[in-house]
Symmetry: C2
Subunit: 197 residues, 2 copies
């Protein structure tokens, strides 16, 4: 008897649905993404999907959650070479690359649009998906504080928002070109401030 | 004969549609806002609406455009008391008040969600609605440069993004409480920078 274990079969279907949703959101405008479409691509019945997820937003969220888990269960870490500016620039450039690649821009934008309209999903997102990443950013900034490269009295959540907020806002609102130069300019301004030096 | 002028009657219908859309978006989730609903509230036929606007996003945009025009046709200006930090804090606190008031949060969020999904609408938005406001912000910052309160070598677009980006991103993504204290903290960090002083 092939595949005798129902829980293993379930897990296979679950992964097929998440993979299908993540692929489809790169191919069709998110507003046109349907449960039918996901079910068809995944090769499962619509009822199977409805049994597990209340909405396409919930599927998309779980797809991100699946992707974000590294295989060895390691927590995310930012590079720490001792050069804060260089480490943050490397991370921001990687983010620029993701946000300008249609394969990652489309699903991330779809999730961001859902989060903007759904405070409950936003809470889950900030707890389970963005939370571990924000903690990693704050650990890197705390290490910079210990090394004397970051002001001691800076609130680390404010620092994270100042470093990442302008880039994310420009991306989500199509406010201008998303380039390494722009990331560098906002990073330098965030680190050094706007007042005369 | 009452109301003999067709163009005046058109203008009255146009304003009724824009007002209806702006009111309805405060009452129902944006995803449930329909052209039918707007037509019913405005007391015009659906066909009248479709003749003038291709989508509910286009109606919402025009409603904002109508609201943004001051009656005397004046261009927007930021306060300029000579105290940059105080002037910017006053503007940011007014923004916090708008973004936390359901009557303004809901339509602004609906527009932001459309802009996130529609690069063409985003271009029009940044040119016609946000553009004049951004110019006003940059005029205030230029005046601060002239007064020696802002670094000469700072790109003013980067400065605007650093001052407003974190707040707007936290708002749109439900990233945390939107308070005057948060606005002050990000403003102070933007002006002074994150490096040790």
């Amino acid at each position: 008897m092939p595949n005798p274990d129902p829980s293993r079969r379930s897990e296979k279907s679950r992964r097929a649905v998440l993979t299908a949703a993540f692929e489809l959101v790169q191919e069709v405008p998110y507003a046109q993404l349907t449960i039918e479409g996901i079910a068809g691509r995944a090769g499962v019945g619509k009822q199977t999907i409805y049994r597990w997820w209340p909405s396409k937003a919930a599927i998309l969220f779980d797809a991100f959650l699946l992707l974000s888990r590294s295989d060895d269960g390691a927590t995310p870490e930012l590079p720490d070479t001792g050069d804060l500016r260089r480490d943050l620039a490397a991370v921001l450039h990687a983010t620029v690359a993701e946000l300008t690649d249609p394969r990652t821009d489309a699903p991330m934008r779809a999730l961001a649009v859902e989060i903007a309209q759904d405070p409950a999903l936003a809470r889950t997102y900030h707890e389970r998906l963005d939370g571990p990443l924000r903690d990693a950013k704050k650990r890197r900034l705390r290490s910079a504080q210990d090394a004397g490269h970051l002001a001691r009295d800076v609130d680390l959540d404010v620092a994270v928002d100042l470093i990442w907020g302008p880039l994310l806002n420009r991306w989500l609102q199509h406010g201008g070109p998303l380039t390494d130069d722009y990331a560098d300019a906002t990073l330098d301004a965030a680190l050094s401030g706007l007042r005369p030096r």
